[in-house]
């Protein structure tokens, strides 16, 4: 099939089959939907021959080869999401990819990822590290005119990797959090937390003038706020809790920590482990309910 023919090289009187829209003088090129036969009438001009519409243009036939791997993955994800996450509404405009910091990492971008899923390229998706390089920040769906839930597609793509083979750092943090009711990904126990809080508090009360009556209540039933804390503070930089306590003291807030469920982080969501994520959520919710608090207050 002729893809690019210079008319000068074709013999007058011969015919050539090309895509119809390419039938311009001098050059018989480019794609179209229908191929046609042309008669070379001079080295500058062609004329349509009487044989018309001899089939689809060859370029369209060659574009994509999908093979037999009919998608299962994207269909499963659609079942999990309201309106199927709009996953079949992509206009390929590229707004997602142009504003995504993960575009270009692992030779991927959000639009390409969605196209691959739509084309049923499940094995290629499974092999790509990209779902772990996307933070599921939701900027893509925020700018998408069709509100396509690419972040959830990424979430479920993480599940294509067997749990034990998912990134060790995330896996380990989730597993540690599952070990105790503190939900601490750094493994801080109920006793550890209480000890650190009380220790830091006593130090401030003793050493900082004017803060003798500073409080950091633990398990105080009926408090309005249940304050949670990222494990980083009690475990690695306990002094960072002090400004927070001082602020709460100045506004006379009615607050408490809980020895159960105090850790704010949740790596089980990042691990895309639904069972574990749900467990962590339920432990934390119960901790707030058991103390009868009105607001779960996040420090972020």
């Amino acid at each position: 099939m002729h893809k690019k023919n210079n008319i000068n090289k074709l013999a007058v009187g011969s015919t050539v089959t090309v895509c119809r829209e390419a039938a311009r003088p001098k050059q018989l090129v480019r794609a179209a939907s229908v191929k046609q036969e042309f008669l070379i009438i001079s080295t500058k001009w062609v004329r349509m021959s009487k044989k018309k519409g001899t089939g689809l243009c060859s370029m369209a036939e060659e574009a994509i080869k999908l093979g037999e791997n009919k998608s299962k993955f994207i269909d499963k994800v659609k079942e999990h999401l309201p309106d199927g996450g709009n996953l079949n509404l992509c206009l390929t405009c590229g707004a997602c990819s142009s504003g995504c910091p993960a575009t270009g990492l692992a030779d991927m971008d959000p639009r390409k990822f969605l196209r691959m899923a739509a084309l049923g390229m499940d094995e290629e998706i499974k092999k790509s590290p990209w779902p772990w390089l996307c933070t599921m920040c939701q900027r893509c769906i925020y700018v998408c005119p069709m509100k396509i839930n690419i972040p959830q597609l990424v979430y479920y793509a993480r599940q294509l990797t067997p749990r034990e083979d998912r990134p060790k750092g995330i896996l380990g943090s989730c597993d540690v959090a599952l070990r105790s009711d503190t939900c601490s990904a750094m493994g801080a126990t109920e006793e550890d937390f209480q000890f650190v809080v009380e220790d830091v508090l006593e130090e401030v009360q003793a050493e900082q003038p004017g803060w003798e009556d500073l409080q950091a209540p633990i398990n105080k039933k009926g408090s309005y706020f249940y304050l949670n804390q990222n494990s980083r503070e009690p475990v690695t930089e306990a002094d960072e809790m002090i400004p927070l306590w001082k602020i709460l003291h100045k506004v006379d807030a009615d607050w408490t920590y809980g020895t159960k469920g105090w850790a704010a982080e949740n790596y089980c969501m990042f691990l895309a482990d639904d069972e574990a994520w749900e467990h962590i959520t339920r432990v934390k919710a119960k901790a707030v309910e058991d103390l009868g608090c009105k607001v779960w207050l996040n420090t972020e």
């Binding site: 910091p101 002090i242 779960w296």
Partner: protein, 187 residues
């Protein structure tokens, strides 16, 4: 917070409490006069600050209203003229690359490449300090400054609130630079 809030919804966990961000209350307490912050300490110093809108707090949870609360608090604390916003911002902000488990995923090179957009946004503001009200943002933006030798400092919001009230102790200044090590110390 996003994990907890969306987990409650996703798994239909019955509960009788609300999920809130302290940023919302900081703004409310300042407006009510309970939290008496002011920016006098920075009147002459004119130290510049920018702020990172955490995706999980703004775009993924409470939207632009909490981004406004955040700006109100920051401006009250550092002074209007000393706050420089990144562009784009609020719900349209770029993720810094600290979320989604990226910090623990074992792809530091890719994470640094991802963070370049954020790094350049911060550098363009010319700010000496990037305020990061989220732990993952704090870790990533701090690491970006180290990795690219960008020179800006990364600081929690509570540090600046306490600083502005003159109640920030000397051991509570881990993330402040030498320029703020002794500013507004309690007597």
């Amino acid at each position: 917070m996003f994990a907890f809030r969306s987990g409650l919804q996703k798994y239909n966990v019955e509960h009788n409490f609300e999920v809130k961000s302290i940023i919302h209350y900081y703004a409310q307490w300042i407006k009510e006069g309970k939290l008496q912050v002011n920016s006098d300490w920075n009147k002459d110093l004119q130290i510049k600050f920018t702020v990172q809108d955490p995706c999980q707090l703004v775009r993924k949870s409470f939207g632009d209203p909490v981004a406004e609360d955040l700006r109100f608090v920051v401006k009250s604390v550092v002074g209007d003229e000393n706050f420089i916003d990144m562009v784009p911002n609020r719900s349209n902000n770029f993720c810094c690359g600290g979320g989604g488990g990226f910090l623990q995923a074992g792809y530091p090179e890719e994470r640094h490449a991802y963070g370049k957009i954020k790094l350049n946004q911060i550098l363009k503001t010319g700010a000496t300090y990037a305020i990061t009200p989220c732990h993952n943002c704090h870790a990533q933006i701090h690491d970006l400054s180290d990795h690219y030798k960008a020179g800006y400092h990364t600081v929690h919001l509570w540090t600046l609130i306490a600083l502005s009230m003159g109640i920030l102790g000397e051991n509570e200044r881990e993330y402040l630079g030498p320029d703020l090590a002794e500013v507004n110390l309690p007597e």
